[in-house]
């Protein structure tokens, strides 16, 4: 961690280099993250190739099995449970991301068009749910979706009015389904989509819109040719901020999901604490991470680009 030549750093930074304070400033958080973030992650990787044993702790290397046991990874491709869990997780997360974009984009665009005094209040209203408890926001939907709730009964009434009498239902089966999982994901992650989109749309120069209009482009054409291309970084950042946590989500599928089709986060937790198969849990975790590395690096790339733009 020894500092190299300061280069473009200012006088203040050069002083840090000269006196060695830089080592403390960088070293302490660096070592903290290495010990409590990198080492645990390496343990998971090592665990994924261990063999399950009836001892405590319930794993070992070697014995009757090869020292590096890849059985866990093999089961990911052969056991239907894991294949289904990955398919359902990725499709639910993808659907939630698409719906967040479909609802969040016009909301973010609308926020840039309202009067500035209103804008502050509305932005605060977008951020406010994000500061309140995630768990309780999921819980709020459990109250709405239950079969005897006013919301479910209202929707059931509309449904029954629309379909033939012999299709009528006493309540809509909303809870414990993939529908519920996607709906609650959209609800809890929507602010993550709106805020980066708003940030990228707010920067756009309205003169460009007007120029396109003056040249005879219709409003929707202006949107497609001018607004949309410039907001792609915001779309990607928002999309990844929804997709990545949604794919590994544990709380939402546990509370409102269908127990018969578990998502990957729940499979990891169950393998670990209930089946006590640590190597299998670790294999699934590593596989999830491998799937997420691409999106995570893409996000980091856009993040550093927007940092550079700001500096």
């Amino acid at each position: 961690m020894k500092a190299r030549s300061p280069g473009t750093d200012g006088a203040f930074a050069r002083w840090f280099h000269r006196t060695g304070w830089v080592r403390l400033l960088i070293g302490v958080p660096y070592i903290w993250l290495l010990v409590l973030f990198v080492v645990p992650f390496l343990i998971v990787v090592a665990m994924s190739v261990a063999t399950r044993t009836p001892t405590a702790p319930p794993f070992g290397y070697g014995g009757d099995n090869p020292v590096l046991n890849f059985e866990g990874y093999a089961r990911l491709f052969t056991d239907d449970l894991y294949i289904r869990a990955f398919t359902i997780s990725l499709s639910n997360a993808g659907l939630a991301t698409g719906l967040c974009l479909a609802l969040g984009y016009p909301m973010a665009l609308g926020l840039t068009r309202v009067r500035p005094a209103w804008r502050q209040i509305l932005l605060m209203l977008v951020i406010l749910p994000f500061w309140t408890s995630f768990l309780l926001r999921v819980y709020a939907w459990m109250g709405l979706m239950g079969s005897s709730s006013w919301f479910n009964q209202m929707l059931t009434g509309w449904y029954n009015a629309a379909v033939p009498a012999d299709w009528a239902l006493r309540s809509l089966p909303m809870m414990h389904s993939n529908f519920a999982v996607v709906l609650v994901m959209v609800y809890t992650y929507l602010p993550f989509m709106i805020l980066p989109l708003y940030a990228s749309l707010e920067r756009l120069d309205p003169v460009l819109d007007e120029a396109a209009m003056d040249l005879g482009t219709r409003p929707f054409g202006v949107f497609l040719d001018v607004t949309l291309p410039q907001s792609i970084p915001g779309i990607i950042a928002g999309g990844l901020l929804v997709f990545i946590p949604a794919a590994g989500e544990l709380v939402i599928p546990t509370l409102v999901g269908d127990a018969g089709s578990p998502m990957i986060g729940r499979v990891i937790a169950d393998e670990f604490s209930q089946a006590r198969d640590w190597p299998m849990a670790a294999s699934v975790a590593v596989a999830l991470l491998v799937l997420m590395v691409g999106p995570m690096m893409l996000y980091a790339h856009y993040q550093s680009k927007s940092d550079e733009a700001a500096s």
Partner: protein, 279 residues
């Protein structure tokens, strides 16, 4: 371009209804006299009374607040250090890895962070005999680790915006470098440090997944207690607890936002006046 964007305003209206109807419904039903959580049975405040009489809830809240205060404070110190380092030092050995390390926990699926922290604590207990029992300490360590990177992000963004020339001017005027640090740099980024602390505090107070992996017998935080209750279904006392949480956090955040906004506007006005006086 001066036409009112009717479609956008309709979507905004729908979006805000979507955001707030579930929360408002939960609040209304917290005053429900009926034991059945979703069937209205008249107005009552009895669930609030039973909440304050419940020792388990009070103990869980105290534990959560202790963990959140300690972990947010340590996370703010570590996160601020990392944020200053990344914003002010363009090149040092291992910078790429360091920059990656402060981004990865932001986007890492919580289950993986939780399970890897638990494995670390389990293996450490096996090898060096510590931590003998998981609880306050292990939860706090895990919370510091995943919340410090949020502080880093906030502080780093503010540092990049802040004018380096002020620091250099102070040095040219003869300030000692440590004076520059404490008299110039830290006051300039103080709002970011404060909002970083607030963010770390609420993240810690809210966390279920990582806490559930790093906790041990007897250490039940408030989210863990709520988690175990809501897994069994909707109950009126959780409605009351949720209402109180949303009201306290909502009023707090709205107040903080209003104060920050007012301060920013006043600063802007003063700057304008100062410029005019100079003309």
């Amino acid at each position: 371009m001066n036409r009112r964007p009717v479609f956008l305003i309709c979507v905004l209206g729908f979006g805000f209804a979507f955001f707030y109807i579930p929360i408002l419904s939960m609040m209304v039903y917290s005053f429900n006299a009926s034991r059945l959580a979703t069937v209205w049975g008249g107005f009552s405040t009895k669930w609030y009374a039973s909440l304050f009489a419940n020792r388990q809830i009070v103990a869980a809240l105290v534990l959560s607040l202790k963990i959140a205060l300690l972990s947010a404070t340590v996370a703010t110190i570590l996160g601020t250090m990392a944020g200053i380092a990344l914003a002010r030092f363009r090149r040092f050995r291992g910078r790429t890895l360091f920059a990656g390390l402060v981004t990865a926990p932001l986007v890492m699926p919580e289950v993986i962070t939780g399970i890897s922290s638990l494995l670390l604590f389990l293996l450490m207990a096996d090898w060096i005999g510590w931590p003998g029992q998981r609880g306050f300490t292990t939860i706090t360590l895990a919370h510091i680790t995943f919340s410090m990177v949020f502080v880093t992000t906030v502080v780093q963004a503010r540092m990049i915006q802040a004018d380096r020339a002020i620091e250099e001017a102070a040095m040219d005027l003869g300030s000692r470098p440590w004076q520059v640090m404490f008299d110039v740099t830290l006051p300039v980024i103080f709002p970011a440090i404060l909002s970083g602390w607030l963010l770390a505090f609420t993240i810690s107070l809210d966390d279920v997944v990582i806490t559930s992996f790093t906790t041990g017998p007897g250490s039940t935080t408030l989210p863990l207690l709520i988690w175990s209750k809501v897994k069994l279904g909707v109950t009126p006392d959780v409605n009351a607890l949720a209402t109180l949480t949303v009201l306290i956090v909502g009023v707090g955040v709205a107040l903080a936002g209003w104060l920050l906004n007012r301060a920013a506007r006043r600063r802007e006005r003063e700057m304008r006046l100062a410029y005019r006086a100079n003309e």
